[in-house]
Every structure is written in structure tokens, then in C-alpha cells.
């Protein structure tokens, strides 16, 4: 992958707030056309990284290039081609939605017509409430207005920091569909942060997981999540008996007893039915088989740890 194809290049990015190391030597690239998932539990350093990419805070060390250019020296040029929602969408509450968008359009670095503003309000389903003051909006409506303001100047790169936070399932789906549409139809590069793996899995093609400010894993979502190796939690009537039964087979990779009624088996995805059949044939009562992909399991662990 050469430099021109990277929309964002982060290398050795570090941010320290006095004693707290928020981001630690983080490096990754976002390619043109990616829907790039930026995943990590609460407090992992996602928002701090995003704020550095958007020049809201300055890095302690490290380099940020956007569209192949150093951010600090080319801030204005870069930001004229970036749309963003950073954490919760906040607006001038005492102004109507349309006035908020008009203000932001004037300072977005590109000509934005009144028609474009109405198109976007229609896109996010707020056209009928365009003249209402934002203080009368629900969280979901503000979130949708946030999407509209990010798209105002038709940017190439869209940075969305947890855009579905606080939305109901229907609202979450609407945002997901919009992200997919922006990526597929309008060929936008989308940098999407979330602390929900399944959300990233549904829309992203590449992703990175960070924890405590450091990179854990980076790569294509399909490769990282759809591995053949899975861990299956098996609920049985007697886990010791089940372990003994399975020890005589060769198709599992590793096995461990968790509790009296639960054991964990690492095996190939295709062998899950065999596992079920074999245990039943050997007189072990199987109550449930729950496959957990290793990355998902890992992510659940760090997420619960963060909580």
C-alpha cells in the first residue's frame, strides 16, 4: 500500500495528560475507501486519538498525516475535506437546526448551498423540524443532525466517534445503513469508532482494536473475525466426564473445564456438529453449545475489564 492510498497515517502517536498516558505509540493506516473500525473499551484512548486526528488536542509525540500531508502544517486544507462527529453531538441549543447548519456551512471551507442543507436535513429525517430550536431535539435527533453537519461540505473523509451512542435499535440501523450508503455509493472513507464489536463487524472492512492507548490488533475485519478456529462453551450435565470423553478424540485443539457444568473447547468451526454428536453418543447430556470467536472473546474480556 503506497502513501497516496492512505487517507490517514498515524505513526508513534502518543498523548500524555500529566501522569496519565492516554495514547501510547499508536500506529495505523486508514486506506482510501475504507470503512475503518476503531474499536476499544471505554477509556481505551479512542476519543483522544480522534481529537488528535482532528487537531482538537495536540499530540505529545508522533506523527499524523491526513490525505498524505502532515496535519499540523496543512490543518486548514485537511479539515476542509473532513467531516466529523466527536463524541456526543452538541450544537447551539438556542438556535434552530437550520441556523446551526447555516453557520457551520459558512465556515466549512467550501461553498454549501441552501439546497444542500435541506437535502441533508431530509436525508437525516429532520426536514420537518428544521426550524425548531435544537434544545427541543431528542438525543437521537441531535445525533442525526450531527451526521448532517459532518456531511455539509461533502468531505472525502468522515470521522464518526461512537455515532450510535444513545440511539434505539431502529436509530442504530439507520446510522449503519447511512454509513454503508456513504461508503458504497459516495465512495467516502469512513473512520468509525465504537466500543461495540458487532457494530463494527456490520459495516467496517478494516479495523483496529486498542486498549489502554495501545494497539492490540489491526487488519481486515473478515480475516480477524471469521477465523476457522472457534472456542465453544459447552454446557453439559458433567464437565469432568465430558473432558474424559473428549480426551480420546483428535479433532479438538485444546480443552479446559470451566465449572462443574461448563467446559471450553477450541476446535475448527466445521467440527462443532461432530462435537455435539460425539458427546451425546458417549452419554453426556449437552444443554447448550455457544461458539465464541477468539477476538470477540478477547474483546468482551477487555470491555468487561474496563467496566
Amino acid at each position: 500500500m503506497n502513501t497516496e492510498e492512505n487517507v490517514i497515517e498515524i505513526s508513534g502517536l502518543t498523548k500524555r495528560f500529566k501522569e496519565v498516558l492516554a495514547v501510547d505509540e499508536l500506529s495505523f493506516q486508514v486506506h482510501k475507501g475504507d470503512v475503518f473500525g476503531f474499536l476499544g473499551p471505554n477509556g481505551a484512548g479512542k476519543s483522544t486519538t480522534i481529537r488528535m486526528i482532528l487537531s482538537l488536542i495536540s499530540p505529545t509525540s508522533g506523527k499524523i498525516k491526513v490525505f498524505g500531508k502532515p496535519l499540523t502544517e496543512n490543518r486548514k486544507e485537511i479539515l476542509s475535506n473532513v467531516g466529523a462527529i466527536v463524541e456526543k453531538p452538541d450544537f447551539y441549543l438556542y438556535l434552530p437546526a437550520i441556523k446551526n447548519l447555516e453557520i457551520l456551512a459558512k465556515i466549512s471551507g467550501k461553498e454549501v448551498s441552501q439546497n444542500r442543507i435541506f437535502e441533508l436535513l431530509e436525508l437525516v429525517g429532520l426536514k420537518n423540524r428544521a426550524k425548531s430550536k435544537v434544545k427541543t431535539y431528542s438525543h437521537g435527533m441531535k445525533q442525526r443532525l450531527g451526521i448532517a453537519q459532518a456531511l455539509l461540505h461533502n468531505p472525502e473523509l468522515i470521522v464518526l466517534d461512537e455515532p450510535t451512542t444513545g440511539l434505539d435499535p431502529h436509530g442504530m440501523k439507520e446510522i449503519r445503513d447511512l454509513i454503508i450508503r456513504l461508503s458504497k455509493e459516495e465512495k467516502k472513507t469512513i473512520f468509525l469508532s465504537s466500543d461495540i464489536l458487532s457494530e463494527i463487524e456490520l459495516v467496517a472492512n478494516r479495523m483496529i482494536i486498542i486498549n489502554k492507548g495501545s494497539k492490540i490488533v489491526e487488519g481486515e475485519v473478515s480475516k480477524l473475525l471469521n477465523t476457522n478456529s472457534v472456542k465453544v462453551t459447552v454446557e453439559v450435565d458433567n464437565s469432568e466426564q465430558a473432558v474424559k470423553v473428549l480426551e480420546n478424540t483428535i479433532w479438538y485443539k485444546s480443552i479446559e473445564s470451566i465449572t462443574e457444568n461448563k467446559l471450553s473447547v477450541n476446535l475448527e468451526q466445521k467440527d462443532i456438529p461432530t462435537l455435539n454428536k460425539y458427546l451425546i453418543e458417549k452419554g453426556v447430556m449437552v444443554n447448550a453449545l455457544v461458539p465464541v470467536r477468539s477476538l470477540e472473546d478477547y474483546f468482551l474480556n477487555i470491555t468487561s475489564g474496563a467496566k
Binding site: L56, S80, D90, K106, I107
Partner: protein
């Protein structure tokens, strides 16, 4: 771009309820003072001129709009700073409180442009408040009480200005008041750049002004040494425009000191804001 930003800032300022507190306060207070002067002004005037009346015969309308405006300007210049800080203290901190720094600073505009537009908008607000005070006190005062000679009492003399020699003095005095209040506005914006809540800058600015005024009021050796460094010491220099002859050296010195403070506060705010991490 800077004009666009100023227009946006003015829109934000004048769409907020707090902006009108100053105008409402002046709009209520000045007519009340006019009423008080209408009822009791003659007695005040006689008290001021009691020494003169033994030696001179004072003729004409001395209880006029000019005299009332002079009294009001004297009374209110101490309190106007509070009305200025209500808006100026909110200019940067208000964005932090509302979380709107994030949508503002992710646009292709520099931080220095934002600070400059906020300063200039603050200046426009300050000027409009002082001009409103001028209209309320001088114009309405002239309508109600009519014009006449202006009698000004100082500790060691009483000066009477002819009717034709007054208006330009008021214009310069209000101009000077705008400069003085811009210092207050600049200080409030400086404090506003440091915090994420407008209450802090409002209280801090008022605290500085009150402390400086108290320090200026004491005529004690060591305090006299530091007086030249307190900007409040120069804020009432507009009174010099109602002196005869005027001390131009003192006026120039005050103008320079106050302008210097504005530049200093603007520069400090720009540096702080340029380096500020937006965490709100």
C-alpha cells in the same frame, strides 16, 4: 473569513438572553435616575452650587440633559463592567460548556481567527451597550430636561461649560468609556479562555476590578507605588474631558495604558487558546 466569523459571533451573542440583561438594566435604571432627577435634581444642584450662589447669580437651565447625563455617566461607569462580563465571560467558556468547540474547531478556521472574531464581537457588544447608555442618558435627558450650560464640580473648583462647548466632550467621554470597558471585556475573554464555565470568568473579572478599585482608592505610600500599574486607575480618566484646561498628557497616557492592556490580554488569550487541548 474574519467578517463571516464576526457575523456568526454577533448572531450567537444577540440570540442569547443574557446579552439583553445589560440593555434591560440600563433601560430601567436610567429612566429611574431621570425620574429621581426630575423630582429631586434641583435640590442636588443647589447643594453643589451653594458656595457659588453667595457670590454669583446663576441664571438659565442648569438642571438640563447634559448635567443629568454627566451625573449618570459618573454613577454607572463603575457598574457597567459587570454587564460587560456577563457576555464577554461567556464568549469562549460558553463554547466549552455547550460542547460546541468540537464542531467549531474541526472546521478549516484557525484558532487565532476565532479569538480575533470573539474579541471584535465583544468590542461591538461593549460599544453598543455604551452607545445605548449614551442614547438613554444624553438623548432622552435632553428631551426631558432640555439643554443648557453644564456645571461640573471638582474637589478644588467648579467649571461651567457653555452649551456649544459640551457635545464633543460627551462624544470623547463615551469613546473613552468604550475603550475602558473594552479592557474589562478583554480581561473577561482572557479568563474565559482558561475555563469551561462562564461563571468563573465573570466572578474573576469582577473580583480583579473590585480589588483594583479598592487599592486605587487608598492613598497610602506602598499602594501609591502600585497604582500606576492598575488599569482601573485609568478607567475614569474620561472625566478629564470635562476639565478646563484638559490635561492632554494624562489623557494620552491613559489611552496608551488601556490600549496596551487590551493588546496584552488579546495576545495572552491567543497564546492560551492556540495551545489549549479541547477536552470538553
Amino acid at each position: 473569513m474574519i467578517f463571516t466569523l464576526i457575523r456568526i459571533e454577533l448572531l450567537k451573542i444577540f440570540r442569547k438572553w443574557r446579552t439583553y440583561i445589560g440593555f434591560i438594566a440600563i433601560g430601567i435604571l436610567v429612566p429611574l435616575l431621570h425620574l429621581a432627577m426630575y423630582l429631586e435634581g434641583q435640590r442636588s444642584l443647589e447643594f453643589i452650587t451653594r458656595g457659588l450662589r453667595d457670590s454669583f447669580v446663576l441664571v438659565g437651565n442648569l438642571l438640563n440633559g447634559y448635567w443629568i447625563s454627566y451625573i449618570i455617566l459618573n454613577a454607572l461607569t463603575i457598574h457597567i463592567p459587570f454587564l460587560i462580563t456577563l457576555v464577554a465571560g461567556d464568549l469562549l467558556a460558553g463554547e466549552a460548556t455547550a460542547g460546541t468547540y468540537r464542531i467549531l474547531l474541526t472546521r478549516p478556521i484557525s484558532r487565532i481567527q476565532i479569538v480575533t472574531s470573539k474579541f471584535l464581537s465583544g468590542l461591538i457588544y461593549t460599544s453598543s451597550l455604551i452607545l445605548f447608555l449614551a442614547v438613554m442618558s444624553l438623548v432622552i435627558g435632553l428631551i426631558i430636561f432640555g439643554s443648557g450650560e453644564l456645571i461640573v464640580a471638582s474637589p478644588d473648583s467648579i467649571i461651567i461649560f457653555e452649551k456649544s462647548d459640551i457635545i464633543w466632550r460627551f462624544l470623547l467621554a463615551y469613546g473613552f468609556a468604550i475603550l475602558s470597558m473594552t479592557v474589562v471585556c478583554s480581561l473577561a475573554i482572557l479568563f474565559s479562555s482558561l475555563v469551561e464555565n462562564a461563571i468563573g470568568p465573570i466572578v474573576s473579572t469582577m473580583a480583579v476590578i473590585i480589588i483594583f478599585i479598592i487599592l486605587s482608592a487608598f492613598n497610602v505610600g506602598i499602594l501609591n507605588e502600585i497604582k500606576p500599574y492598575l488599569f482601573t486607575n485609568y478607567m475614569l480618566e474620561w472625566r478629564e474631558f470635562f476639565n478646563d484646561p484638559m490635561d492632554f498628557a494624562e489623557i494620552t497616557k491613559s489611552l496608551l495604558v488601556l490600549s496596551g492592556h487590551i493588546i496584552l490580554f488579546f495576545t495572552a488569550t491567543s497564546i492560551i487558546f492556540h495551545k489549549k487541548d479541547i477536552l470538553s
